[in-house]
């Protein structure tokens, strides 16, 4: 399967007078795993959120498999898509949030089975069966009837990943998926993402886990102040960063004992 090609071209975005994305371009090939690193406030999360149109871009464009996100070209004008069509596009893009954002009043199973029924029109039985399968995949089949607050942070994030997978997305976006977790719970989530990295789904991951980034990424992107400073293979970016800004960032975030 070779779908899930993401093409970001010269994207700009301002909040008020602050320009948080200053012309960002990035290509992630089908099945690729791109990890975006950078200090907070560098625009990583905003960039991620423009990909599923949770943030509208001010200029530039994003395409997925050649299809514009949020807009449609008719004649020589870009027409903004209606809510319904945007929602349909989003079903191809799964998203996992830093704070999980599971629906607390629904069980793990209901969380996973909700979107396939209402957004893709599948039958309840089909959605439930598929949800159980996905919960099994993230190792939580026996907690299917638990409410999110009865689960640990790591378990909640795994449910959130199962929920994102339930729509069979071509692309998965991870917005700092382990930043809200206790250190000992980080790995159970990273293991699930590692497994996904080999599944052929395109992954775009914003994270601060350097070792994990080095493991799973085929492209590492370093962002600072709304721009991509440097990108390349993990080998290139981690071992011999070209830009001084990248080097100074790594020297601060990677502990001396950390073996890279």
């Amino acid at each position: 399967m070779s779908t899930g090609h993401v093409e970001i071209t010269d994207v700009r975005k301002s909040f008020g007078t602050t320009e948080v994305l200053k012309g960002v371009s990035l290509t992630v090939p089908p099945g690729g795993v791109a990890v975006i690193l950078g200090p907070s406030g560098s625009g990583k999360s905003t960039l991620l959120r423009t990909i599923n149109h949770l943030e509208k871009v001010d200029s530039g464009n994003i395409t997925i498999d050649g299809e514009l996100v949020g807009y449609q070209l008719r004649g020589n004008k870009l027409h903004e898509l209606r809510e319904k069509d945007i929602l349909k596009q989003r079903t191809h893009i799964g998203m996992v949030f830093q704070n999980f954002n599971l629906f607390p009043h629904l069980t793990a199973l209901e969380n996973v089975a909700e979107a396939p029924v209402v957004a893709q029109g599948r039958s309840k039985e089909e959605a439930r069966a598929r949800a159980l399968e996905l919960l099994d995949r993230v190792g939580l089949k026996d907690r299917a009837d638990a409410y999110p607050r009865q689960l640990s942070g790591g378990q909640q994030q795994r449910v959130a990943i199962a929920r994102a997978l339930a729509l069979n997305p071509k692309i998965l976006l991870f917005d700092e998926p382990t930043s809200a977790l206790d250190p000992e719970l980080v790995n159970e989530v990273l293991d699930v993402i590692r497994e996904l990295a080999t599944s052929g789904t395109t992954l775009i991951i914003v994270t601060h886990e350097m070792g994990f980034a080095r493991d799973v990424a085929d492209t590492v992107v370093f962002m600072d102040q709304g721009q991509i400073v440097e990108q390349g293979s993990p080998q290139e970016v981690f071992t011999s960063p070209r830009e001084p800004r990248t080097r100074s960032f790594f020297s601060k975030v990677i502990e001396p004992a950390f073996n890279i």
């Binding site: 949770l54 319904k84 929602l87 989003r90 704070n99 954002n101 629906f103 909700e114 979107a115 729509l167």
Partner: protein, 355 residues
Amino acid sequence: MSSTATPVSVAGAAAQSAPSTGRPASAGALENQAPESTPESTAETPTAGPPAVDYSGYKVVPAKHPGRWVGTVLVALGVAAVLWSLATNPRWEWGVVAQWFTAQSVVNGLVETLKLTAISGALGFVLGFVLALMRLSASPLLVGVSWTFSWIFRSTPLLVQLLLWYNLGYLYEKISLGIPFTDVRFFEVQTTTLISQFAAAVLGLTLNQAAYSAEIIRGGILSVDQGQLEAAAALGIPAWRRSTRIILPQAMRAILPTAFNEIIGLVKGTSIVYVLAYSELFYTVQVIYNRTQQVLPLLLVATLWYVVITSVLSVFQYYIERHYSKGAVRNLPLTPLQKVRRFFATHAVLERKSR
């Protein structure tokens, strides 16, 4: 489970590591020696704290609260005095209360009160939900209209609103449905035939209720984390479904306590429609006591019915709130009924064992 185990193990460890100078808590004679022995022991083991004592063998005596007992007795006496006077003062005329409590006219009035509450409560909250969504929408016009609605209906006395609706026929003789700004009329009716006492009462109570419930519902919606909307949008869940399935059930936890306040207020608030000579509970009672001059006992009849309705509503409130707290608390507490059942179940087991 580890939280209960920890203090025990810590205490045990301290007892082992401390020098063996532990003394019984009651040994007053040894206390004179303490200042001398303490510097020595700290010199030997600088890390050890004060000498540890094994308290596990002592009986625990709960602290005494004499003030609480005095307070309890005083309040109990007060309650008893009130009950006694209620029961024995002949002027309460309990016989008259009993005679009228289930009288046909009173029950008819009660039914009207319940009808008004149910209809205006339901319509008021539905309209309030729409107004809340309008207020939260991105359209400045919808926001403005919703705000103005709440502003007007919250700033005019309900009494004035009711009289205004009832006298609508004076302001507009006929009500018609047609094409605005033309003479085309599909349907035309005398205002006075359309606006009965009941219609005026429902209209007034509903619109007034809607203005208040809009704010309550809006507050509830605002209390739900923005991330919930975002997650639902990212999953492609349609807007209406996002509101009803994701946001509203969570907002209900914040909405319900205040909403039930409003409904209970509305039950008694319906008594204000007596100004329209509408024969709900309160008006009915008034009519009766104006005839029989038994004012207090008949007010008691109405009051007791309001107490009954409020009590029933409170039970509903408990169970509805409990329903919506699913997932918000780790484990639901037992309902009073479940507690009673568990009490009897465990005691039955004990009895069987003792036999």
